[in-house]
């Protein structure tokens, strides 16, 4: 198991004193841990618990409550296609199916080369530009199956 780097330890310390209670720093610290590899392992939770001086169970219950924390490895490009109402009306199912086929994955799966995960997600608040997807932190809007494929291929290079 790799020890936390200094910059992570500094970040944790800073966040722990940023809010009125130390627990409020759990979400920001989980984001920080996820930054590097795209997901958070049980070992990292244990380390974070020690660094924050908070029982691991409290960190775990927070992590598991929120959908943005990945408890399993995801592809380098985490493609999240909104499949809520306005996006569905504007072709998000066809879009998701096309991407799954193109990158040879099932929804939620990591591609065999570890580069892409395609998942269906709930409303991302971009309904006027449907269909849309989020890749890692960025939004991509007004998509067609072809334009989305191009974006992913370009980012993957």
């Amino acid at each position: 198991m790799e020890a936390f780097s200094d910059d992570i330890l500094v970040f944790i310390k800073k966040e722990c004193s940023r809010y009125e209670t130390r627990r409020s720093a759990i979400i920001p610290c989980l984001y920080k841990l996820q930054e590097k590899r795209g997901w958070i392992s049980p070992e990292q939770i244990g380390q974070l618990a020690v660094a924050m001086d908070i029982p691991p169970v409290q960190i775990n219950e927070v992590m598991k409550f929120y959908t943005m924390f990945n408890q399993q490895p995801v592809g380098k490009l985490h493609v999240q296609v909104c499949n809520n109402i306005s996006c569905t009306m504007n072709g998000s199912r066809e879009l998701t199916d096309h991407l799954c086929k193109t990158f040879n994955v099932k929804s939620g799966e990591v591609s065999s080369d570890g580069r892409v995960t395609v998942s269906k997600v709930e409303c991302l608040g971009s309904c006027d530009t449907a269909p849309m997807m989020q890749i890692n932190d960025e939004y991509y809007e007004n998509l067609t199956p072809e334009s989305a494929t191009k974006i992913i291929e370009k980012l993957g290079k």
Binding site: Y19, I27, F65, M68, G125, D137
Partner: protein, 428 residues
């Protein structure tokens, strides 16, 4: 009537995003005015303006502020930017196009309610908006607009951002407070309301992004000026997020009481050629759906929509044309609420699961006729029995879809396929 751009007047200008640009268009001028007023005067103005919460519940803002106990306890002002109601995106636009407007609205509101610490709780997915806000907060601190003794007024206010991490329920104010406290974002039993016991047990005001920004224009235009638009009980303008099957989806600011069909046909450029209006969800996915016929007489204000058995909600208007299958649409909505139920109340945890299961069985062609009534029966028992409104938010659309489009559900059960040509079995 047409669009009235009060809040969104300068949203098309990129320079409005920066402090310098915002100031050019009278930014922070109302903050200076506020500091010359007494906090009570501001609260009275907001009360008289008739401003109602723009997040979804529509509770009068000034009245909410008035609930704060006068016990000398520290108070918190939280901005609810956890915009998650499907169909809603106006707060994102506001934060991305006018971060200083929100900050100014928050400082004025904090001064009015005598709070010295505020947070903007923003949904995790809005990382770009969060970056824009972070930059704006930094600019505001550097310019002495946040921190100690703001503009030599003697008033201190610190503001920070807190990012959620993907949970619809955190848009519910007590769920949001739990989340900010570092817990699972589960709502808390009310009363006590947050104004009495909120963040860390301290008196807390939670207001939506648009609500806080509106306060600026109430001070600018005065009560009469603000009430020039809207209706007696639904005052002012409102931002509507319009999406679905429509030519020009987007965010539109119109006076409350604006006719729905005008919004669709004038501002939004109408439907695609050859398409007919089938239904509209007028206030986010939890608002009961309106039939095309009901849309003809619908005005976009709290009372008119309540009269039609629906609600204004967050102002998310979802336009559904005749190419959509209502069974399929309901399945998408039920999947969402099942996914987002926080699980602490049995009627919601079990009910949302059952609704999704039954609707999904109908939409996969294996439903029975009695399942249609089962949906209504399950939904009817989910209402008013839980800690927060998510359970009702799932039950309301289920009941309205079944009631108003029953023939589509019956057709699906009888024939094992959608009544709408080209729609195949749901894939969710």
């Amino acid at each position: 009537m047409a669009e009235v751009k009060i809040i969104t007047e300068h949203y098309d200008k990129d320079e409005f995003i920066s402090l310098e640009g915002y100031k050019k268009f009278d930014g922070y001028k109302m903050l200076k005015k506020a500091f010359k007023m007494s906090p009570q005067q501001i609260i009275d103005e907001v009360k008289s303006s008739g401003l109602r919460g723009r997040g979804g519940a529509g509770f009068p803002t000034g009245v909410k502020w008035g609930f704060l106990p006068d016990n000398g306890e520290e108070r918190y002002l939280l901005c609810n930017a956890d915009e998650g109601e499907p169909g809603t995106f106006k707060d994102r636009k506001m934060m991305e196009r006018a971060p200083h407007q929100l900050i100014e609205g928050m400082i004025i509101s904090a001064f009015a309610v005598n709070s010295h610490k505020g947070y903007i709780y923003i949904r995790g997915e809005y990382s770009y908006a969060a970056k824009v806000l972070e930059q704006a907060i930094k600019e505001a601190y550097d310019a002495g607009l946040l921190g100690k003794n703001i503009l030599d007024s003697g008033f201190d206010f610190d503001l920070d951002i807190y990012r959620g991490a993907g949970a619809y329920i955190c848009g519910e104010e007590t769920g949001m407070i739990s989340s900010l406290e570092g817990l699972k974002g589960q709502p808390k039993l009310k009363p006590p309301f947050p104004a009495i016991k909120g963040y860390l047990g301290k008196p807390t005001i939670v207001n939506n992004v648009e609500t806080l920004a509106s306060v600026i224009y109430i001070l600018r235009d005065g009560v009469d000026g603000y009430r020039k638009y809207g209706t007696e009980k639904s005052a002012g303008t409102k931002l509507f997020s319009v999406s679905g099957n429509i030519n020009k989806p987007g965010t539109y600011e119109v006076p409350l009481g604006y006719p729905l069909m005008d919004l669709i046909n004038n501002e939004c450029g109408g439907l695609k050629p050859g398409r007919k209006l089938k239904a509209v969800i007028p206030g986010g996915s939890s608002a009961p759906v309106l039939t095309a016929e009901e849309c003809q007489k619908a005005n976009m204000d709290y009372e008119s929509l309540a009269q039609l058995g629906s609600m204004l909600g967050s102002g998310a208007v979802i336009i559904i044309d005749d190419s959509n299958c209502m069974v399929d649409m309901l399945n998408v909505i039920m999947h969402f609420y099942h996914h987002e139920s926080c699980g602490q109340c049995t009627p919601c945890r079990e009910g949302t699961g059952w609704l999704h299961k039954v609707v999904s069985s109908i939409s996969s062609g294996t439903g029975r006729l009695q399942d249609i009534d089962l949906v209504d029966e399950v939904a009817s028992r989910m209402m008013g029995r839980t800690i927060c409104a998510l359970s009702d938010a799932a039950a309301m659309p289920a009941r309205a879809f079944i009631q108003k489009f029953r023939n589509e559900f019956e057709f699906y059960v009888r024939e094992g396929r959608s009544k709408v040509k080209g729609v195949t079995d749901a894939q969710l």
